[in-house]
Symmetry: C2
Subunit: 138 residues, 2 copies
DNA sequence: ATTGTAGTAACTACAATGGTTACAACGGAG
DNA sequence: CTCCGTTGTAACCATTGTAGTTACTACAAT
C-alpha cells in the first residue's frame, strides 16, 4: 500500500503558516512547526513558488502568499507538489494481451472509470480553500 | 509520484476473465491475458479468495465467481487487494509541533477534508459493477 | 503414479520517499 | 565591505512498496 506523498500535507501546512504568521516564516521556523528538516521545507517551497502560489525572499528570508487564502484550493496545492501527475492516480498493468477479448478491451473501459473516480476526488479537493482551514486555528 | 498499485487493475482483469470465460481460467491462462507472471496472478487470486469474491480449485485448476457480476463493484475489488488501507489514501506528516497554533490544529482539519476527498473517489468506484465493464467486451 | 495446477517462501531489481550533510549564492545590517 | 542568517541545490543514504522470478510443496483428477 503506497500513499500519496506527505509533501501534500506539508505544503498545506506551509501555506497555512504563511497565511497565519507571515512575518516569521523562514524555512527553519516552518520546519520547526512541521517537525521536519529545513531542506524538505525548502524543496516544497520551491514547488509552491514554481506554481505561483508563494514568493520567497532569498538572502533575507521569509515568504508571502501570491494569492488570497480564499483563492487557493487544496487542489491547487495538490497539483503544485505534483504528488500525482495528470490522470494517473491509478496505475494500470501495461500491455494486456491483445489476442484476448478481455485483454483487448479492458484498458479503455477501466481507465475511463478510474479517471472519473480520480476526478471525483480532485473536485472535492477543489471545494476547500486555504482560508476555510485557517479559520479553524484558534 | 507514486500511483495506486496495478494490483487493482490486474484484479479487475482477472475477475473479468473469470466472468467471461469461466472454463479455461487457470493461473497460466490468466497470466497470458494480463501479460505477467503466473505467480503474480496467484497472489492476487489469493486476495480475491480471501475477500470472498472467487473460489479457486487447487489441484485441478480453475476459478469461479462467488457473486453475480452485477453484485461486484470496483470498490469491492479495490478493497480486496488492499491497495489502500481504511482511510489512508493520503499520507500525513506526523507529529507537527503542538506548540504552534497551526501545527496543533492542522491535522484534524486537514484530515477530515482528505477523508472526504478519498470517500468521494471510493463512492464513485462503488457505482461501477463488474458486468458494466464486461458488457463492453465484444 | 503421473501430470498439471495452486500455494508460498525467498530472493532480486527498481523507484519513490523522507531525510541528511555540505556548500554556494544572496541580501541586509553593522 | 564584511559578516551572518537565509535560500537554493547537489549528492548522498536508508527505508519501503512494487513487480517479477525461481523453486519448491500440496493438491486433485486421470
Amino acid at each position: 500500500m503506497k500513499q500519496i506523498s506527505s509533501r501534500f500535507s506539508v505544503a498545506v501546512h506551509i501555506l497555512s503558516l504563511i497565511a497565519v504568521s507571515p512575518k516569521e516564516c523562514t524555512g527553519d521556523f516552518i520546519a520547526d512547526s512541521v517537525n521536519t528538516n529545513p531542506v524538505i521545507i525548502r524543496k516544497i517551497m520551491g514547488m509552491l513558488k514554481k506554481a505561483g502560489l508563494v514568493e520567497v525572499r532569498p538572502g533575507v528570508g521569509g515568504a508571502s502568499l501570491l494569492k488570497d487564502p480564499d483563492q487557493i484550493t487544496l487542489l491547487d496545492v495538490y497539483r503544485a507538489v505534483d504528488v500525482i501527475e495528470d490522470g494517473q492516480l491509478f496505475n494500470f498493468h501495461d500491455e494486456p494481451n491483445q489476442d484476448c477479448p478481455v485483454g483487448r478491451n479492458i484498458e479503455s473501459a477501466l481507465r475511463s472509470e478510474l479517471r472519473d473516480a480520480q476526478s471525483a476526488m480532485e473536485q472535492r479537493l477543489a471545494q476547500v480553500t486555504l482560508d476555510q482551514l485557517t479559520v479553524q486555528f484558534h
